[in-house]
């Protein structure tokens, strides 16, 4: 079978290239933000071993910066930016992108409250003295710190899952069309969030906790990736064609070397050795995890657009 088409629309032919690095960066930063929101909320509620380090307390501010950069990338990806306010006029329950737009609206205030409530008291007091108008909100925010920590875990989880569902809910792209993409992006997001936190000057207990947690998350991520591959391998013709993108196709080398070998297996081994020898986790494994997390999203975004329903196989011609 040979098929030719006279269609040559830009961004569509010869292969779909509508989403590029802007979307990959947004998904990567969204994952980190989700991870930091979940981990900083969880550590505020349940991590009682020692007084939180200054870096841990200031990380929610970093979240605000990262999500803003991510949103800017998303804004750049829009072809009709003047209409971006249209996202907030309706809520479309069947549209993952609509969910994402509204979730981002939740992430901002929750992150801002968390950031404020975790800021050291004397810094907060300095700000409140200069801007007394903020005092009622500022004091209430600190009193409700544990509630915001819980809300941070919930909204971070929704954000993390959404980044995967955005792609997973596209039945037209067999490489993406899996319910496992939600959990995969969530686990990967928490893992890259932990890795991002490990780049800062946390105290020893926090580093050990995050290092071992990241090791467990990487194992979970490898398990989900295995299930996702098995799901595609057990699927129909379109799924098998999609699977070839990472089994002999153009994304094979990048996927297996950057994501699996360097981004997951190597840091997992390093983190396990650190845990076994009671060493304090360094930044090397964290950097590999971050690189792997970005590569995963980059490959997902690009490879998914190359997958589709084989026309000749499903056209009913035979």
């Amino acid at each position: 079978m040979e098929a030719t088409s006279t269609r040559a629309n830009p961004l569509v032919d010869p292969g779909l290239t509508i989403w590029n690095q802007d979307v990959a960066i947004y998904l990567f930063l969204g994952g980190i933000v989700a991870g930091v929101m979940i981990l900083s909320g969880a550590m505020r509620l349940w991590y009682k071993q020692e007084e939180p380090s200054l870096a841990l307390r200031l990380l929610p501010w970093g979240n605000l910066a990262l999500i803003s950069i991510g949103m800017f990338c998303l804004f750049l990806d829009l072809e009709n930016r003047f209409n971006s306010w249209r996202f907030y006029l309706v809520f479309k329950a069947y549209s993952p992108m609509s969910w994402g737009a509204w979730v981002l609206l939740l992430v901002y205030p929750v992150s801002a409250h968390m950031a404020w409530a975790e800021t050291p008291a004397h810094w907060r007091e300095t700000v409140l003295r200069k801007v007394p108008l903020l005092r009622p909100w500022g004091e209430w925010s600190v009193r409700a710190r544990r509630n915001f920590a819980a809300l941070s875990i919930v909204s971070g989880s929704v954000l993390g899952i959404y980044t995967g569902i955005l792609l997973g809910a596209m039945p037209s792209r067999p490489f993406w069309n899996s319910s496992l993409l939600g959990p995969l992006f969530l686990v990967s997001g928490v893992s890259t969030g932990a890795a991002f936190m490990l780049l800062f000057r946390l105290n020893q207990g926090e580093r050990r906790f995050l290092g071992f947690l990241d090791f467990l998350l990487i194992l979970a991520e490898l398990g989900i990736i295995a299930l996702w591959i098995i799901g595609m391998a057990a699927g129909g013709e379109a799924s098998l064609q999609a699977l070839k993108l990472i089994f002999g196709g153009p994304y094979t080398a990048a996927f297996w070397s950057l994501v699996i070998a360097l981004g997951l297996v190597t840091p997992a081994i390093a983190e396990f050795i650190e845990y076994k020898h009671r060493a304090i986790p360094g930044r090397g494994a964290a950097l590999l995890v971050l690189g792997g997390g970005f590569a995963l999203r980059w490959i997902m975004v690009y490879a998914g657009q190359h997958s589709g329903w084989a026309s000749e196989a499903s056209a009913g011609l035979f």
Binding site: E2, P10, W19, P171
Partner: protein
């Protein structure tokens, strides 16, 4: 059931792939250079010398379970009168979720407006009571037939009742309103 359900058939026995439909659409809708809303696909199958060629004039399938409508976050992509799928440019952000969702890659971004565009089944004509699309009107072999699928007396209903037909990518579950006669 909808009052009207517009659909289209393309007779693959008589379509010669002359692309008059493509030019008519471009002219009628004043499309930017390099963009098309419909196109010609040629498929050759078999083993030489026993080859069979199929030529089709293709466009948006105006699916009755449209993945693009579900994916659109602003309601810009929607079902309109006659069961067709339309895009309201003033609501479109150009997020391209509909393009990713469409299994037929029938949509594109109009570089002038920054909004997503595609075949409208000549909505500007049918809304004024005209019964033909630009592509149908110019087809020299009368391969393209447009009409109401819910009207049992329409030409398209007769063709679908009398001839064997198929839709593209039925496994995608989108229930296209665009049929190809065998």
């Amino acid at each position: 059931m909808l009052e009207q359900q517009f659909g289209m058939t393309v007779d693959t026995r008589t379509c010669v792939g002359c692309a008059a439909c493509v030019i008519a659409c471009k002219t009628e809708n004043r499309l930017a250079e390099g963009y098309v809303r419909n196109w010609i696909t040629t498929q050759t199958r078999g083993r030489f010398p026993e080859l069979v060629m199929t030529i089709r004039s293709e466009r948006c399938n105006h699916c009755r379970s449209a993945a693009c409508v579900r994916a659109c976050p602003t309601g810009a992509s929607h079902y309109a009168a006659g069961g067709t799928v339309q895009v309201t440019g003033s609501k479109c952000t150009g997020c391209k979720a509909c393009m990713a969702a469409c299994p037929y890659d029938a949509r594109y971004v109009d570089e002038q407006s920054g909004t997503v565009d595609k075949c409208t089944f000549c909505n500007h004509r049918t809304s004024r009571g005209m019964a033909t699309t630009a592509c149908q009107e110019v087809c020299p072999t009368r391969s393209i037939v447009f009409g109401d699928l819910n009207d049992p007396d329409s030409e398209i209903s007769h063709l679908l009742a009398q001839r064997d037909w198929y839709t593209l990518k039925p496994d995608a579950g989108t229930r296209p309103s665009h049929y190809f006669l065998k």
